[in-house]
Amino acid sequence: MPEDTNIEKKPRIGVFICHCGSNIGGFVDVKAVTEYASTLPDVVYATDNLYTCAEDGLNNIKESIKEHNLDRVVVSSCTPRTHAPLFQRTCEAAGVNKYMFTFVNIREHCSWVHMKEKEKATQKAKDLVRMGVARARFLEPQEETKIDVTPAALVVGGGVAGMTAALSLANMGFPVHLVEKEKELGGFVKNLHGLMMTKKSANEAIQPLIDKVNAQKNITQYVNSHVATVEGFIGNYDVSIGTEGSESKEVKVGAIIVATGAIPLVPEGLFGYKEHPNVVTSMEFEELCNKKEIPKLKSVAFIQCAGARGQKVSYCSRICCNVAIKTAINIAENRDNMLGATEEKAEAEAGQVVEEPAAEMKAEDEGLERRRRRRGRGRREADEAADEGGAPSSGVEITVFNRDVMAYGVEHELEFNKAREKRVKFIRYLPDNLPKVSTKDGKLEVGYFHETLKMERTMPVDMVILSTPLVSQPDAATLSQLLKVPLGQDGFFQEAHVKLRPVDFATDGVYVCGTCRGPADIAEAASQASAAASRAAIPLANGYVQAEALTSRVDETKCTGCGTCVEVCPYGALRKNDDGISEVIVAACKGCGCCGATCPEGAITMTHYTDQQLLAEAKAALEEV
């Protein structure tokens, strides 16, 4: 409760009431409000200004502080959201701590919204000034502190995202500790066969990145390793890195980037997976391609969203349609002679037309592009009507069973059209009528309901490729607890804001990129990694972080160590110390005050928004005058 006895030294409050030309003065009796203000407790000076924010007004504040020895200032004018910094600087210039200032809004919240009721508006302005003065009596000066930052970073994960982020920071001159849990760098991509829209193999495509990381002296690599413990906060993390077969290593870093990637879902129990050897996931198909172990194929079916969008996981995995389109084109083009691997080459030469895509790409112009799109669209109906006829250029019949094709963006759309040109069939299914994979006389077949013909159909196939979604790493939860950063409902790491802060965590000093924050393709992962590196570089380059002056404080004598505040804090800014008592990590606290509202012992004080200050305002608001 606000009690006068809590005020150690008798406050000396100055109140400055603004006419704002006629904006306030036209609807509120400013003179009457000023006169009233001078009668309030601890107010030693009250005056009105035509424009308090003009030079005259500001000088008036400065002079009055000196003349009347004011130790706190109340300005009653417009909104703190635009003008508080100006008046705070004025107070500071006259030697009054900027947190000894209170703003009272009698324009937006009073004169402008009660333009036809001058009497009521004047009364309300008096009430608002009384509330501001009541608050001002309990203000305390605050200091803003700078916290030093160790100019080094930790990157967790050595895939495309992790390597790109590590390289960016290392190239800026910061030492980087790069932790990879497998025995070599490369991540998910190193196990792939071909990549979309590039004629290089996946290995060829990422080798230059690996080479650069190996050559960069600022990067210390830790393979077969994991993050064992993390202590600290932005600028000052003590990290212990555990490596298989050797002693753990302690490093100090100022920022941490999480780039731990994702894994493909194993579709246990779906679409005949594991029941028939020729039902494979798209990842397994990539591995078969790498090993040159593709069996003889005459007909292959893709099943999209296998396990996604309501089956095993709820979300769309974003990349699988493009992967299927890529693989379909590769099969149709018999890329790297992938279909001849286990067959005599002669058959491939006799029966298949292998297109030379590089030459075709060169010949493309806009007109051709447009024709191609039109043709692609025109063929759809023919495809659906005769989905068992037609021959792709490779002689392999390729069908993509899909709920809807997510070939987002211009480049993916072009690849989709290219696949259609190669007579890859796209057949739609609905979630309540999934394709059924079965065997008949030892042969695989896919049964489906043709949505256009409204007919059950069956298609014999040699292989079924299940496009399974990316899912979060099984150890993501462990890392999320170590770093005190959240996972979303799908188990991926959750950024601070989906649109405005896509690579930050809410916790300062920790950043996220790549597929560990959700499915992404290589280009997206690389962009995110560059973004995360540049975000992490801000505190590293500055060498310090400015701590909030508005933070919570724990009264150790009152705290019982229940831990409620630790749970409530959105920023991980509260922790229990060795005595089991809560303590505030000032560098991490943002000053929301959620902990203060939660503490059952009243042990937490939210500076500048203390219980005492807020209740004094409430009491003043409700006083009978």
Partner: protein, 147 residues
């Protein structure tokens, strides 16, 4: 209070006192916008600025009632739009608890509201105040026997 009379006629001159705890980033800005666009609403509300609606201890609301408030508003950012990630989620949960508590104490549910008002929703701020003032005028002061 006489029985059987029209409550709307009963307190024609009653001016309820409303305390509104508004978060700095959304609701306070919404109230600012109501002013900038000169939306007129009754002069019964007194705003107390907090950084986050999650700062509002349920005890503040109870204290406001015991100090004589006829109605209390706690206003924050819309769900998932909180400046402090999820402070407003805590407000929402406390709001449910508080509503039940106040109802058990015999206060009409119209006397306490949790509202999500964005910085762009000046109109919503004005509407919330108008509606609450009208409702409280209908209800009249908190009856002694139920408070």
């Amino acid at each position: 209070m006489e029985e059987g009379t029209n409550p709307e006629m009963e307190h024609p001159a009653f001016e309820p006192k409303i305390v509104a705890f508004c978060c700095n980033w959304c609701s306070y800005a919404g109230a600012d916008l109501a002013g900038t666009t000169r939306l007129q609403y009754p002069a019964n509300v007194r705003i107390i600025r907090v950084m986050c609606s999650g700062r509002v201890d349920p005890a503040f609301v109870l204290k406001a009632f015991s100090l004589g408030a006829d109605g209390v508003i706690v206003a924050g950012c819309h769900p998932s739009d909180c400046h402090y990630i999820n402070g407003n989620e805590k407000t929402a949960m406390r709001g449910i608890f508080l509503s039940e508590f106040l109802e058990d104490a015999g206060l009409e549910p119209q006397r306490f509201r949790v509202e999500w008002i964005a910085g762009s929703e000046g109109q919503k701020f004005a509407d919330v105040v108008k509606k609450m003032v009208a409702e409280l005028q209908t209800l009249g002061p908190i009856a002694e026997e139920s408070a």
